[in-house]
Amino acid sequence: MTFLLDVKGLNVRFRTEFGLVHAVNEVSFSVSKGETLAVVGESGSGKSVTALALMRLLDRTALIDGEASFEGVNLFTMSEKEMQKIRGARIGMIFQDPMTALNPVFTVGDQIAEVVLIHRDCTKQEAKTRAIEMMGLVGIPDSRRRVDQYPHEFSGGMRQRAMIAMAIANSPSLLIADEPTTALDVTVQAQVMEVIRSVQESIGLTVMLITHDLGLVAGFADRIQVMYAGQLVETAERDRIFYETRNPYTRALLDSIPSQLGVPGTELKTIGGNPPSLLSPPPGCLFQPRCVHATEDCRMTRPELKSVGQNHLSRCLRSSDLGVLR
């Protein structure tokens, strides 16, 4: 089976005034055509950095190594010029905060048309027509009029739709959505996810969804991978993550989802403590200080990512003796 995106041994380190920060450590994963992969973790787990590294959008303080093969080419070795032909054309990306992600001084239509104009051989008028068409596709009503409006005349949800329109205007094969709903109202969140799902179906898009919200991905993702402190800790089909959880961190994340039913009297669980310093990580398991199952061994030995079932990997020294966690 060939993958649309195949990442091997990705490391991202940041040079800071305090030293090197290991933001992403030896992360390997792949995404097949048409599927939806959700990358889940707390803030600082390295999930957004992973996405930005793939797009090569990190600033100069970032050191990236590893390999990312996308449609048969390595994203990390190509020139900046070639990379510009991938961004916005073959890979679209949307960001967390639609309030700040659009340029305030240009019309929404101009910003969508621009991405069409630079990647395709077409006239300004054709690009604008395409922009209107895209705005319709993502459910912006009255798109013929709103194409000439500025971002400040759009609501948060509408801006995120405009961002999606911009990201998919050139029919890319991969859409990276970095926390696309975090900054939005709960009611709008569902609408935006619905838009992503519908365009995915209509143009056959592969989606890499980055979020901290396991509840959000429950109905959306095909596969889930969980990250913690820059490492991949568990990855499997969606249902296996939810019902055959093997990693204590994933379990803790699942337990901290507020119950949809809201049973009165149930206490909302949180994960105590903080993630470890990525400047000088402790020797053993990185989750060990906050883990309810931790043993002396966990403090000394760094666990490897091991197969615990069909297409199911988990990083825990005790995965075999703990079994499925509930």
Partner: protein, 297 residues
């Protein structure tokens, strides 16, 4: 990523129990240009006030046999057209310039803080009146006010300081007004009001402590502005009048000798430039130390 680094650094230093003041002090001390500048500034001011006493010459002692002499052991900066020692004169000039600048920054800060606080706290017509006054001062080209009033009062250092303060209080007033307006609706102020505290007490005890940081930064800027304005006015002949020397009128007096002894003209100017340069570094350091969110650039 930044929040992550931040958390770690604070954990690493164990600094969470430090008060804001101690944290600000620590940040300031770590700002090397500001510390070096503060040191040099103190050195410079000490020199202005005391170095002149090391010389055997008085600032106004004329010796026509030693006109326009080059720097020597006896006269480290040389002598002027009528044989006065330029080292003593420059130091004394620096002293007068610094005095004027200090007086201006104290007075302008006092006026600005009081009027700004009144405008911000009472709002309505009081605010309108004070704001229009500020606009009026800003609309007239500064030099006109300075020159018109300097004609009358500006011959003396104190007079010039008064005139400059009358012009320079507006920036601080605007800063203070903004902060006061921002804080007067906050819970702790409303609480103080609710228990019947008087406006003066509320402003002084609950609101003004919040402006100390921004005002400190403004004061450093003010010191720089005042010394530049003083020297510029005196250079144009509109500021402090001879025989009292200031850095500005020293340049004005030796300007005629620019072809023969150019360095003599520039020397007092260098003191102005370095004073302002150090003051600006100091202000930068203070800003970084007092406003943790500001980026260090």
């Amino acid at each position: 990523m930044t929040d992550l680094v931040d958390v770690n650094s604070r954990e690493g230093l164990g600094a969470e129990s430090l008060s804001f003041g101690r944290l600000a002090l620590r940040r300031f001390v770590r700002h090397r240009p500001a510390i070096v500048s503060l040191f040099l500034l103190i050195l410079m001011v000490l020199a202005f006030f005391f170095a002149g006493r090391l010389s055997n010459f008085a600032f106004d002692a004329v010796d026509v046999t030693k006109r326009l002499e080059n720097p020597s052991r006896e006269h480290p900066f040389g002598t002027d057209e009528i044989g006065r020692d330029l080292f003593v004169r420059t130091m004394l000039g620096g002293q007068y310039s610094v005095r004027v600048a200090l007086q201006v920054s104290l007075l302008a800060t006092a006026i600005g803080t009081i009027l700004g606080a009144i405008a911000g706290y009472f709002g309505r017509w009081v605010d309108t009146a004070i704001s229009q006054m500020i606009n009026l001062i800003l609309i007239v080209p500064a030099l006109i006010v300075l020159a018109v009033f300097a004609q009358r009062f500006g011959g003396s250092p104190v007079g010039l300081a008064l005139v400059l303060s009358g012009l320079l209080w507006t920036r601080i007033a605007r800063v203070v007004r903004g902060v006061v307006m921002q804080y007067k609706e906050q819970e702790f102020v409303l609480a103080a009001k609710a228990v019947g505290a008087k406006p003066g007490r509320i402003v002084a005890r609950h609101i003004l402590p919040n402006v100390v940081g921004s005002v400190l930064v403004e004061i450093t800027l003010l010191l720089g502005t005042a010394i530049v304005l003083e020297s510029t006015l005196s250079f144009l002949g509109l500021g402090v009048q001879p025989p009292i020397p200031t850095l500005g009128n020293l340049i004005q007096q030796s300007k005629g000798a620019i072809d023969d002894a150019p360095l003599r003209v520039l020397l007092p100017g260098f003191f102005v430039v370095f004073f302002v340069l150090f003051i600006n570094f100091l202000g930068d350091g203070l800003r970084d130390a007092l406003d943790p969110r500001s980026k260090r650039q």
